[in-house]
């Protein structure tokens, strides 16, 4: 019974086992069919695809065009750099020579091991990079130890080089590998590929399409070990075009040297054309450090530095102009007919307007001052009263007519328009009414008025030329047209500046530098430099006094703006020194240094012009009014 049950027990399962057998046979036939299809029927198709997998395109980096100064001297070029790498098949051999390599290539201990470890996940046909941007010492070490080392490939490729290092760093910009975002947004054009080196910031960025070459490509077939066995095609790279700038590196260097360690900016332009001769911003960075892979730490350091070294203060930052703004007030007064050369005010060291006392910087007062003296000695009281007479609307109209409060349109990115305040502006931004007292502050360049160095350089040059405001640019017209880069049209105020306005204000500015004015340190012997100092309070005087008593000296921001020569100026400049104290002391010497270089280069050889000295004496009568 038990035994019978025993077999009966299995009847169902035994009866159904053939189902399983048939299923297994069918399953294996299915798999066999799959194998047959892939390996026999479609063999040639997949073999062709496998062949394609063995074809590698190797980028052949095109050298970037050089950036040259106006005389063809290099500001950015390329240097030959070497990448050291090994193919994967040489890895075991490499393992045994890690110590020797670490020593010879001067790596930190364990650096190579982590470097290799990092690259293990990359596709295996790519060589393992041991060192980028290897020096000549590294190459000779490799050559000397050929016997002991695995086959290390030494591949040359160009790396961007800035021979002047920090000089004109903001103007030139720098290059890095194109970012994911830039690639996706297509701002570098459709042909941009991952791994492309593109310009970031400055001329490198704006004229990237001129400077960037077209990378070549080497198509090779590799064997199963990733070794090149055959070169299929070679497309040589096309080098980028060189780009000449309007910059004069001598002027740039002189300005950088005169600047010392201070933060700030200096711009010099040729007002006749708008060509920028010098554009600097401090503190600067070394664009070379971006050309090779910049370390995260270094990058953070640059970005988080409270002194903001990446900011191009010459065009991207605006500051209250201080007394520099008096120039534009004088222009407005003369243009409006409110001001005449003989009009005088009496300065007692301060004045009461709208029930509030406004102080002059000279506590004892300037006594009786006319326009010329008011400019030369920068008398606040004179301009307070002029400002009150003009009113904020007219001040704004005339300042804007000289291009202030607008972007100049310079061929660089990130320009700040600055601020020329007006009641309408205040309503729009702060939704508040304009107080008459604010006009008085604006009259001496304090309060909401805020300008960029590039704006002031253009305005000064334009004033000296009699009211022609050319758009500043760093690439000369001919090359710019080739680059397809349009500038806004030059700016001509309507109504135009009257010759008398230009003459009177220029005379005043000449006096600032060449008479008893605050800008004596900007003088260049034989070059009629006209200029104006400016000192913008960072904080109110009272709180400053308080801070001072705490033992922490707090310096004002300093300006010096000017042009030369007085008649038909050839160079105009604006210098801004953060916490420079007085403009005459810290900013004027920078302008002087730039103008001196320009003068030595273009003017010295010419015989001294007798007529010019006559004009100087001619301008003196204005002092008699004092």
């Amino acid at each position: 019974m038990q035994l019978r049950d025993f077999y009966k027990d299995k009847e169902t399962v035994q009866a159904r086992i053939p189902i399983l057998q048939v299923s297994v046979i069918l399953g294996f036939l299915l798999l066999l069919g799959g194998l047959w299809k892939v390996q026999i029927l479609r063999h040639s198709h997949y073999a062709a695809l496998a062949q394609q997998n063995q074809i590698r395109s190797i980028r052949w980096v095109a050298p970037r065009g050089k950036i040259l100064d106006r005389y063809g001297r290099p500001l950015a070029n390329n240097r030959r750099s070497y990448t050291l790498s090994v193919t994967r098949k040489d890895l075991p051999e490499l393992e045994s020579s890690l110590d020797l390599l670490t020593q010879g290539l001067q790596f930190e201990p364990d650096f190579l091991r982590t470097q290799i470890e990092k690259q293990r996940r990359r596709p295996r046909f790519l060589p393992l990079v041991l060192k980028e941007d290897a020096g000549i010492d590294d190459i000779s070490f490799i050559e000397a130890h050929r016997q002991e080392l695995p086959a290390i490939q030494v591949v040359p490729h160009p790396i961007r080089n800035y021979p002047e290092t920090e000089v004109a760093a903001h103007l030139l910009g720098y290059v890095t590998e194109i970012s994911e975002f830039q690639l996706e947004s297509g701002i570098f054009g459709d042909i941009a590929k991952p791994g492309d080196i593109v310009g970031q910031k400055g001329v490198e960025r704006v004229y990237d399409h001129i400077l960037r070459g077209v990378d070549g490509e080497k198509t090779v077939r590799v064997d199963s070990r990733g070794r090149e066995i055959e070169t299929i095609e070679m497309v040589p790279p096309q080098a980028g075009n060189n780009l000449r700038l309007t910059i004069d590196i001598d002027i740039q260097r002189a300005a950088e040297k005169a600047f010392g360690d201070k933060a700030g900016a200096a711009v010099a332009v040729d007002p006749r054309t708008g060509e920028v001769l010098c554009l600097l911003s401090r503190p600067a960075f070394d664009p070379n450090s971006f050309a090779t892979r910049i370390s995260r730490q270094k990058w953070d350091q640059l970005l988080l530095d409270p002194r903001k070294p990446m900011q191009n203060r010459a065009i991207q930052s605006r500051f209250p102009p201080g007394s520099v703004f008096k120039i534009f007030l004088a222009v407005a007064g003369l243009q409006e007919g409110i001001l005449t050369p003989t009009h005088t005010e009496y300065c007692t060291g301060g004045t009461r307007i709208y029930g509030r006392r406004f102080a002059c910087w000279k506590k004892g007062g300037h006594g009786r001052v006319n326009l010329h003296r008011a400019i030369v000695s920068s008398c606040n009281v004179f301009f307070y009263r002029l400002g009150r007479k003009l009113g904020i609307e007219k001040i704004a109209v005339h300042a804007k007519a000289m291009g202030l409060g607008y972007k100049t349109g310079i061929d660089l990115l990130g320009e700040n328009p600055g601020i020329i305040p007006s009641p309408e502006w205040k309503r729009r931004i702060y939704n508040a009414n304009w107080y008459p007292g604010e006009t008085i502050s604006v009259a001496i360049g304090q309060g909401a008025v805020s300008l960029t160095p590039i704006q002031l350089a253009r305005a000064l040059g334009g004033l000296g030329l009699g009211g022609v405001y050319n758009v500043p640019h760093v690439v000369p017209a001919a090359e710019r047209h080739r680059a397809g880069k349009q500038l806004p049209a030059a700016f001509k105020p309507d109504p135009p500046l009257e010759p008398r306005t230009v003459r009177l204000v220029s005379q005043g500015l000449w006096g600032v530098v060449n008479q008893y004015g605050t800008g004596r340190r900007a003088a260049v012997q034989g070059f009629d430099v006209c200029g104006k100092t400016g000192t913008a309070q960072v904080i109110g005087r009272e709180s400053r006094e308080r801070l001072k008593s705490d033992g922490e000296p707090f310096q004002d921001n300093a300006w010096f703006v000017g042009f030369a020569p007085r008649d038909l100026p050839e160079i105009a400049a604006a210098v801004f020194v953060e916490e420079g104290g007085s403009g005459g002391a810290s900013a004027a010497p920078v302008l002087q240094a730039m103008f001196q270089v320009y003068f030595d280069k273009h003017k010295k050889k010419q015989p001294q012009d007798g007529r010019r000295s006559e004009q100087i004496t001619f301008s003196l009568p204005s002092e008699r009014a004092n």
């Binding site: 049950d5 027990d9 169902t12 189902i19 297994v24 799959g34 063999h43 997998n53 890895l91 393992e95």
Partner: protein
Amino acid sequence: MAKQILPYLKQCDWVILSLALAVAALGVAEIYSATQYELSESFYVKQIYFIILGLVVLALVVSLDYRLLSQQVPYIYLFAILSLLLVLFVAPAIHGTRGWIPLGAFKIQPAEFAKVAIVLTIARFLSENRTHFLTSAQILKACLLVGLPLGLILLQPDLGSAITMVPPLALGLVLGGLRRNWILAGALVATLITAAGWYSLKPYQKERVYTFLEPERDPRGQGYQAMQSRIAMGSGGLLGKGVTQGSQTALGFLPERHTDFIFSVVGEELGFFGSFTILAFYFVIIMRSIRIAQTARDKLGVFLALGAVSVLFFHILVNVGMVVGLAPITGIPLPLLSYGGSSMLSTFILLGLIMNVGMRRYIY
């Protein structure tokens, strides 16, 4: 002593064992080929250790009468559940899933051993049924027994391993006395569950299914593996490129080439000839195992052998199907061939169970 062992050794299925060893040895060669340019990791040496360890475990499994083994089923089942729970709480997450418990130099994958536990549990459960057909209560109990570990594996989440729990259950129920109407109803329910399951799949899992249906859809992403696998297989042609000569393999286009996609390496380097041979070996192993089930002495033996066969067959079907493009990409290893200690050990245990049943069919 020797006289006692000798009859067993005579009854031992040497064909299954030698075919299994042949496949495993070929696996070692292909793992060597697939990983020859890896830095300082010698997978093939480890695989040899796994095979030796597998043989030792197989000898142990074979030497114990399977009826004695089946008496330990409650403990084995409990141990499997506990180890799966342990995975969920202890194992580090790798790529969002956790499946391995690190143990010294090795990583243990409890899901692999849970498969063995399920085979034993199902066999014991069904063998205790003394009637021709199963009652609905019995069916429910069987489903719950399998559902618990299956659910735990899904939580890892490891869809591939979880699915491998289903074949021993399904096969066990169908062969173990499920009424015909029940089979049809089960098929219907399975279809519905598949449909419902689709909506509960994670996006990447859905993407895998889409990619399987249409690999060119995304040749750089999900479809990449499927495409590269087929390119490797297809370019192997009739005779292959020779061991260590596969360019697809060597150049590293093939992902997971020494684990889940080892059959592609075989296909590329040994061609249709090689892959057919491996398939033939598997076929013989499976058919002989079914034969052992047919001639088994008791119901327990039948279900043990069939359960083990169903797990092995399912792995082969899904893995090879995936490699040639007949099944979607799931992380299921190929028994005996893929690199991996847990998989190797569980495969040898299953083979051991089959041989165990075969050796004792005439011995009462």
